[in-house]
């Protein structure tokens, strides 16, 4: 990664998750200059917070390692972290994009030695772990963090803690007077890859997320299973740290629901099928999973994964949208509902309930700077009216990783087509 001046032959990629990184890398490896804008202090996005991928059960960090190596070796990509796009002016082949960059308070001198963290005692919520845990106010976002550079939480700026951190750094890496700045970046095309956010489970009132400690979301469950996570990879339930051996997975938590998300989020069925594997992996003896579903959407080649899980005696499937959750004296969440296959009523206690929360675009169509055509869920549509702003990955649809990467690769080509035209015109 190096600094190069952005021109209208540059491709600007918004979002440094797997889609944004892919789009940036594919474009750069085809010889184009790219500016990659990420709002978090490190690249990786949503997938870097997953423990395993379906259907291979391999680890997202493995692909992230490869992509980061591609990035480190490629001088054509300029990465801006803690940066957000606030405006897009101009048109196809000639955009000026305003990028607001928040202060990191740490410069490139940082060697990630960790002395600043030792000097700081303030703990702040750890968003990488969906706030299930905390970390120091001087922190490396994760072991895979790229750039591998510490961050100071604004909470301690102006406090003695910050001075202590500065004093602890031998390399002059800490700059407490860093200010927020807004850059104007020229670009011929923009790839919008801001990805997705989990639907706010608290809005699904009958499930009592927020009221019942042992009702959590599928993304939080990923962190529990991950060795890098707050429990060091143990499936312990939040209320009392008890081992969660009897786990319920509730599908369509927000999705396929006109009171919440109208669309099907596509990934949740596979994600829950995958997560039953976590339960079995951690508790081979007496782990037990129950999936409450409307339709199991193990689409195309994923079907065999579904068939494998179906064959597993520790997993049971109940065709039912759980009506409500209550809590019993032991703090077990109790699922109430009717199995619609032959009308069987149930009120079943579990150790832990995992809500397979739906996907919504992190930036809804209407909130994207510029006039972008999006569907009713806020996903960017492919539309000539969008000029050279191309949606990629989950900003364009509810996609699994594989499809998101395809989408990002396609978006890269569309952007390249534009900057090639610009180059031709200028030649």
């Amino acid at each position: 990664m190096t600094e190069h001046v952005a021109t209208n032959e540059t491709i600007l990629v918004v979002g440094g998750g797997i889609s944004g990184m892919t789009a940036a890398l594919e474009a750069a490896e085809t010889g184009k200059n790219v500016v990659l804008v990420e709002k978090n202090p490190a690249l990786g996005g949503r997938t870097s917070q997953l423990y395993r991928y379906f259907p291979k059960l391999c680890h997202p960090t493995c692909g992230l390692e490869i992509n980061q190596r591609r990035l480190k070796n490629n001088p054509r990509i300029r990465v801006l972290t803690l940066a957000e796009v606030t405006g897009i002016e101009g048109g196809t082949g000639n955009y000026t994009v305003s990028v607001r960059v928040k202060p990191r308070y740490v410069n490139e001198n940082c060697t990630a030695c960790g002395e600043c963290a030792k000097a700081v005692s303030t703990e702040v919520a750890d968003p990488f772990n969906y706030n299930l845990g905390t970390h120091k106010a001087a922190y490396l976002p994760s072991s895979m963090a790229y750039p591998q550079r510490y961050v100071l939480d604004p909470a301690i700026i102006g406090t003695p803690e910050a001075d202590a951190a500065k004093a602890a750094c031998k390399y002059g890496a800490i700059e407490l007077d860093m200010q927020e700045e807004t850059l104007q970046v020229k670009a011929g095309a923009v790839i919008w890859a801001t990805g997705w956010q989990p639907y706010d489970a608290a809005k699904i009132q009958p499930y009592g997320y927020g009221r019942f400690k042992n009702v959590i979301t599928s993304v939080e469950f990923e962190r529990l299973a991950d060795p890098h996570g707050p429990t060091g990879g143990k499936l312990l339930r939040p209320s009392d740290g008890k081992e969660a051996k009897n786990v319920a997975f509730i599908q369509c938590a927000g999705s396929r629901d006109e009171n919440h998300l109208r669309h099907c989020s596509r990934i949740c069925c596979m994600a829950s099928l995958k997560q039953t594997h976590y339960v079995r992996e951690k508790y081979p003896e007496d782990g037990k999973s129950t999936i409450y579903y409307i339709d199991i959407r193990a689409i195309d080649r994923f079907e065999d994964f579904y068939q494998k899980v179906q064959a597993d005696p520790s997993v049971s499937f109940i065709k039912s949208k759980v009506a409500r959750i209550s809590e019993d004296e032991q703090g077990n969440p109790v699922c109430w509902g009717v199995n619609t296959e032959g009308y069987k009523r149930y009120t079943t206690p579990h150790d832990l309930v995992v809500l397979a929360v739906g996907m919504e675009p992190s930036v809804k169509g209407v909130n994207i700077p510029g006039h972008i055509v999006a569907d009713s869920s806020g996903f960017i549509e492919a539309d000539p009216a969008n000029g050279a702003v191309f949606g990629a990955g989950c900003a364009s649809n509810a996609l699994d990783v594989n499809r998101a990467v395809q989408s990002a690769t396609a978006a890269a080509l569309r952007a390249i087509q534009v900057v090639n035209k610009v180059a031709k015109a200028e030649a």
Binding site: N259, K321, R324, V338, R345
Partner: protein, 210 residues
């Protein structure tokens, strides 16, 4: 030919269409995706199982199980708590559909005769519309005496304490039996309702014809 057989004839093998045209909110039935949230949300279904919970009724309607649907006691268990409505991911007005199917079965005279709520429901409406306002005493008496005088006295005795309590608390007026609260313009109300029934009947007939 009874109203029921007439309708059965008319809609032969398309019970769904019959429901859509003849039942209030019936055109929503096709929108159900069988998630079962209504059945799971229904309080009486958990206190004392419905023969067929809402989502199953919807499926039975699509499957043309006319007889079973119209004669079941199920809908009559609805307490109008509206849990199903607020939770349905397809926004089906389930409470109203339940009432609608019940009303239709009642209209066709195939609803279970002895279903107490069916009886009370009719009784309530007659009571309320007779004078424009509900006469709670007559309402309860009417309910207790539905199975004749003897049964009525027995029922009434069961409720003796409750009744006396209410009277003592001035929340039940024994003299209501002699009239009680009424609206002034009863003539107007009757005429208005008569018209309303006419219109509704003709609208439904129109659909049948169409």
């Amino acid at each position: 030919m009874s109203a029921n057989t007439a309708m059965a004839e008319k809609y032969r093998n398309n019970f769904l269409k019959e429901i859509e045209e003849q039942v209030e909110m019936g055109d929503w039935v096709k929108m159900c995706m069988q998630c079962g949230v209504c059945s799971g949300s229904c309080p009486t279904n958990f206190q004392s199982a419905w023969e067929h919970p809402p989502q199953e009724l919807f499926m039975m309607i699509r499957a043309g199980k006319r007889e079973e649907v119209l004669t079941t006691t199920s809908m009559w268990n609805c307490t109008s708590c509206y849990n199903c409505i607020v939770r349905c991911p397809r926004k089906l007005p389930i409470t109203h559909i339940m009432h609608g199917i019940a009303e239709y079965a009642h209209r066709l005279g195939v609803a279970p005769k002895m279903q107490p709520t069916r009886f009370f429901s009719g009784l309530f409406w007659k009571n309320a519309t007779k004078t424009g306002r509900v006469n709670e005493l007559k309402l309860s008496m009417g309910l207790y005496f539905k199975n004749g005088f003897g049964a009525g006295v027995k029922e009434g005795m069961k409720m003796k304490d409750v009744a006396l309590g209410l009277i003592k608390a001035k929340r039940l007026n024994p003299f209501e039996i002699l009239g009680g609260h009424t609206c002034k313009d009863q003539k107007g109300i009757q005429a208005m309702l008569k018209k309303a029934y006419e219109i509704e009947r003709s609208r439904k007939a129109a659909k049948t014809a169409g």
